[in-house]
């Protein structure tokens, strides 16, 4: 089995271990489980971004907004219709996917950061709609020349203050423990990963890569770039929506202020550092940044002691506040300069070097 295959299979192996260790879960500290669950949730969204950016070469600055669509869809379905989480989650993915499709429409005519701008618009417009659906209703009324008069109002979305969301229920038991969250997220991550792998290695995936690497050449092979870009947008937002649904039901509270551009950018950074265009990239990137954040938080009390002594002009309270973006920015910069293909590529290179050594023994 080649290094490529190996690096793509290890997360599955890990997931397997995750399930096998099920009885031992209680021995693990809750903190660790929560960290893993949070890594998993973010990784799902970043996997979607990977399909769009890594495999299709299209930039999105609106991933957090698509997460938001998923979170709200699932929350509203659960609240208004009492739909089970297990149905509302895929529906949330679908809804987010359709909205993603909508914002992917400009990809017909524009590329590169023009497209990034369209997704930036999503990052502003979607929260606007969620905060005040009645405005969208008015707009729809105008656009249809008064033929349609939707009666949406902000009681549906909770307006600026957001919504409480019920916890998922499975076979009559409420999944509100960290352990249940961890297992649910793990299961969804595994499925999301398998889907991602299947897409990438089959017809659609090859078409996406063909578009990424050379759009003209792809067209000459009979691939319609627009159709596939839209599919990529759909998939990307679908993954985001699933992540959103998980987030909403396990956090049990969502608010329109929680899905920021900063979070979209962070996800992009995680993907690039992890390795865009590599199946394992999202898991690598999200894990690295979450672990780094965790470490920063843990060493913060020490830093608060040390840094102001070394740099007397720094206020104690500014230490972790400035270190987080500083370290995120620096890490991203160093990767862009020295390893622009990301961690997954580095791992693959190492594996290749290792294999090259073996016969010489």
């Amino acid at each position: 089995m080649s290094a490529q295959r190996l690096s793509e299979w290890w997360p599955l192996a890990l997931a397997f271990v995750g399930f096998v260790l099920l009885p031992a879960l209680d021995l693990l500290p809750t903190e660790l489980l929560r960290l893993l669950a949070s890594i998993g949730t973010t990784a799902i969204s970043v996997m979607g971004l990977n399909l769009l950016l890594g495999y299709t070469g299209q930039v999105s600055l609106g991933q957090a907004a698509f997460v938001m669509v998923g979170a709200y869809t699932s929350a509203i379905l659960a609240r208004e219709t009492g739909l089970s989480f297990w149905l509302s989650m895929p529906l949330a993915g679908l809804a987010a996917g359709l909205v993603g499709l909508l914002f992917g429409l400009p990809s017909l005519r524009v590329r590169g950061f023009y497209l990034a701008m369209a997704t930036l618009a999503a990052q502003f417009i979607i929260p606007w709609v969620i905060k005040a659906p009645e405005k969208l209703a008015t707009l729809v009324g105008w656009l249809t020349l008064g033929l349609v008069h939707p009666t949406w109002d902000s009681t549906l979305t909770g307006g600026a203050t957001g919504l409480q969301v019920p916890a998922p229920v499975l076979f009559g038991s409420t999944l509100d423990s960290t352990r249940a969250e961890y297992l649910t997220v793990l299961a969804v991550v595994v499925v999301a990963f398998l889907f991602q792998r299947n897409v990438v290695r089959t017809r659609t995936g090859r078409a996406l890569v063909a578009i990424r690497d050379n759009e003209r050449a792809a067209e000459v092979l009979g691939i319609h770039p627009y159709t596939y870009k839209l599919q990529a947008f759909f998939l990307c937002a679908l993954y985001a929506g699933i992540a959103g649904a998980l987030q909403a039901h396990f956090r049990r509270s969502i608010s329109p202020d929680a899905f920021t551009l900063a979070s979209s950018i962070e996800q992009l950074g995680m993907l690039v550092v992890g390795g865009a265009g590599y199946l394992a990239g999202p898991l690598f990137g999200v894990s690295l940044f979450r672990l780094m954040q965790d470490i920063i938080v843990r060493v913060t009390p020490t830093l608060r002691e040390i840094v102001p002594r070394l740099l007397p002009f720094v206020a104690q309270t500014d230490v972790d506040t400035s270190f987080r973006p500083l370290i995120f920015g620096l890490t991203l910069m160093l990767f862009l300069i020295y390893q622009p293909l990301g961690m997954a590529h580095g791992v693959r290179q190492l594996a290749a070097r290792w294999r090259a050594r073996v016969p010489s023994r």
Binding site: S2, F195, N198, V199, R201, T202, R203, T204, G205, R206, A207, V209, A210, D213, N214, R216, A217, A218, E219, V220, L221, G222, I223, H224, P225, Q231, F234, L235, G277
Partner: protein
């Protein structure tokens, strides 16, 4: 001339801003023949090829493709649909997908022959899996034809230039084209690689009867293998006919061969 050409180019002109890249060019391509397009640099050979494969839209004129499934105007047809009609092409600089393996590069060209969509791809069970495997076999067959089986799993980015040209050809073949456009296949190759590639072209021509439009600088090669030669100069057609005939054409000698030999 045969009464039923495969491709008819009628009075095609192409403007780039104020520059006239093609000027009222007409030609016909017969089934089963190798048609060569020659001319000095900037004569409009590649532009014409791009018009046929849909990458450029002619400013004037029309292009018709008469396939087994009937005649069709393809002047304004989107590129990917032209490919689906059965017109494949290679590029002067092979435009492979460096991140994909050689086999996957070939498989990419099976796109139009495959049916599975996003959903079945996601699940990858049953028919989707069977289809994938069938086409994989077909791609391996093409690699076999090009003697590249040993490179099937190598990323295309790691191939030599000569191999890349071969894979590019293989990818065009994987479309199972009714017409193959080959853009300067010999450019940048060693003598040995040229001979290999020529062999494949001839094999395609004689073995599989694939009609080819060949853009090539190597006059000798063109005269050896082309059935029909079209000469362009400054975007206009200056000669059109069987190789031997064109070779003797005074205008061609003046415009092109003369230039080549001095």
């Amino acid at each position: 001339m045969s009464p039923s050409p495969l491709l008819t180019v009628s009075n095609v002109s192409l403007m780039f801003g104020g520059v006239r890249a093609l000027n009222d060019v007409s030609l016909e391509v017969q089934p089963g023949e190798i048609t060569a397009l020659i001319g000095p640099n900037g004569a409009g050979k590649s532009s014409l090829l791009n018009c046929i494969s849909g990458l450029y839209r002619p400013t004037q004129g029309s292009i018709q493709f008469h396939s087994a499934r009937g005649s069709q105007e393809i002047t304004t047809t989107p590129t990917h649909q032209i490919a689906a009609l059965g017109i494949a092409r290679t590029f002067q600089t092979p435009a492979l997908y460096p991140g994909l393996s050689t086999l996957d590069n070939i498989l990419t060209a099976r796109h139009i022959h495959m049916r599975q969509g996003l959903l079945s791809g996601l699940l990858y069970v049953g028919p989707a899996r069977r289809e994938e495997e069938a086409h994989r076999a077909r791609a391996e067959e093409i690699l076999g034809f090009l003697d590249l089986k040993h490179l099937a799993n190598t990323p295309a980015g790691a191939l030599s230039y000569g191999h890349r040209k071969q894979v590019d050809l293989g990818r065009a073949l994987a479309l199972e084209p009714e017409l193959l456009l080959v853009d300067e296949p010999m450019a940048g190759l060693h003598q040995e690689e040229r001979e290999t590639l020529t062999r494949y072209l001839l094999e395609l021509h004689f073995g599989r009867k694939v009609p080819i439009i060949l853009v090539e600088h190597d006059i000798q090669l063109v005269m050896e293998i082309a059935d029909h030669v079209v000469v362009l100069d400054f975007g206009s057609k200056i000669a059109d006919g069987p190789a031997e005939e064109v070779q003797r054409d005074a205008a061609v000698i003046a415009a092109y061969l003369g230039e080549e030999t001095h």
